[in-house]
């Protein structure tokens, strides 16, 4: 465990070194700002109130998309398990959602909705298949392992749900939920960039690029990456708190 932490720290150090070496090779602040310049830009962002409202706006849009996708994923996965027809009906739809280009969806959604709603919907459409598939796979696994037992002893549906399916599916789903939430953040930011959403991290990135504020653009990128890590960690933390029977 300790060894793994050291390797993870080394990987971050490696990225930092690559940045420093690349900056030295390029020597052009408009193409690649220095680490320290970016660090200073980050400090300025933290002191700026509009950054925080953009930060919470983006965070809120990501979380709203995730929660809706989570509820829809759980409902449809349960229905798919109860009825093979629902599973067959959803299968091509989920495949289409997986392959459709995100940018094309955002452009279409911008015609139908507005810059605040489009990133939420596109994130929802991208992460729903991932959550649905994760939940369906978990339910199938639990049913395969313990379904015959519950069936043989005629265990009531409520007991099956609360004592078997929910607790046994939760570890797998929560393991993947953090990563999916982090992916959702990435999609939300992309949607905001294309939609030029007011008070959003994506919108701020778009502005920084327009005005060639490269340190700010890079600082915002680093902050999105850090936020993504935190969201992934949040999923693992939830898993640790909720799934005590595994430890």
């Amino acid at each position: 465990m300790k060894k793994n932490l050291i390797f993870s720290a080394l990987s971050i150090l490696f990225l930092w070194l690559v940045w420093i070496i690349a900056y030295d090779a390029v020597r052009n602040d408009y193409l690649l700002p220095s680490f320290w310049e970016t660090f200073r830009a980050m400090g300025k962002l933290f002191a700026d109130g509009s950054f925080w409202s953009a930060f919470f706006g983006t965070f809120l849009r990501t979380v709203i998309s995730f929660l809706i996708a989570f509820m829809l994923g759980a409902a449809f996965a349960a229905l798919s398990c109860l009825h093979g027809g629902v599973r067959a009906f959803l299968s091509p739809l989920v495949s289409v959602l997986r392959t459709v280009p995100t940018m094309a969806v955002i452009l279409i959604l911008l015609l139908w909705t507005n810059a605040f709603v489009a990133p939420v919907i596109v994130t929802l459409l991208v992460i729903f298949p991932a959550l649905y598939s994760a939940m369906l796979a978990s339910i199938d696994e639990v049913r395969g392992e313990y379904g015959a037992l519950a069936q043989a002893f005629g265990v009531p549906a409520g007991r099956r749900l609360f004592s078997m399916y929910l607790p046994l599916c939760a570890p797998n789903v929560l393991s993947q939920a953090g990563g999916i939430l982090s992916m959702g953040l990435k999609i939300t930011v992309s949607g905001e960039v294309l939609s030029q959403t007011y008070r959003s991290l994506g919108g701020m990135m778009q502005n920084a690029q327009l005005f060639l504020e490269m340190p700010t653009l890079l600082a915002l990128t680093v902050l999105v990456v850090v936020l993504g890590f935190l969201l992934e960690g949040l999923g693992l933390l939830f898993k640790k708190i909720l799934i005590r029977w595994r430890t």
């Binding site: 392992e145 313990y146 037992l149 002893f153 007991r159 078997m164 046994l168 029977w245």
Partner: protein, 225 residues
């Protein structure tokens, strides 16, 4: 329990073909046979878990003892028993845990139990569940000899007070000879032999060698009775 004109086919293949079979109450009936002989199909037919031709009468409520303990890892020992039992049966759990030698382990999780202890919980579950017929599908097949012997004894101990109808599928002749009152030998879905058994008689019929018996005694350190 009576099976009349029971036939189960998978395409062209006849998995089970039993013109008439009466399974006596108060007895343990062993069903022996090689893989694919139709043993598990017979259990599924009795349980009504498969569509089949013919009829099975007088089954009533069925309880199961599977090959693997199949305990939910998120629940405690007591939780696993509660999971399958009607609420009115929950009060019987502590005394059953005592009988199976797991008194005070009710709050343990399955991962804290040994393989034998897990199977004990599965046996307790099968006997606690209100039933008229108990179906056992090779529950001792993956256990080592000494554990097998102790769990066979436990099963017999739990069976004696109620003497319910038990259908016990196994491929181990010796298990059948130790536990059952009657042995049915299935081959390609047909009952080849129907034999009342009592120890030596079964061993004669299935021709277990004296060397094998010596090995069994040496491995368990005790004699089977």
């Amino acid at each position: 329990m009576i099976l009349r004109s029971v036939k189960k086919t998978y395409g062209e293949k006849v998995a089970l073909d039993i013109p008439q079979l009466e399974i006596e109450p108060d007895k343990i009936t062993a069903v022996l046979g090689e893989s694919g002989a139709g043993k598990t199909t017979l259990l599924n037919v009795i349980a009504g878990a498969l569509p089949f031709e013919g009829s099975v009468e007088g089954v009533g409520k069925v309880s199961y003892l599977f090959q693997s303990p199949t305990l939910l890892p998120n629940l405690t020992v007591e939780g696993n028993l509660r999971f399958v039992l009607p609420k009115e049966e929950w009060e019987k759990i502590p005394s059953m845990l005592e009988k199976i030698g797991l008194a005070g382990r009710g709050s343990s999780r399955p991962r804290e139990l040994s393989g034998g202890e897990k199977q004990r919980v599965a046996i307790a579950r099968a006997f606690l569940y209100p039933h008229d017929v108990l179906l056992m599908d090779e529950p001792f097949s993956s256990l080592d000899l000494s554990l097998k012997k102790s769990l066979l004894s436990l099963t017999a101990e739990l069976w004696r007070p109620r003497r319910e109808t038990v259908v016990f599928v196994t491929h181990d002749v010796h298990e059948a000879a130790v536990l059952a009152h009657r042995a049915l030998v299935l081959k390609e879905g047909v009952i080849l032999t129907d034999l009342p058994i009592a120890g030596e008689l079964a061993r004669d019929f299935f021709s277990r060698s004296a060397e094998e018996e010596t090995l069994v005694r040496a491995l368990t350190g005790e004699e089977f009775s």
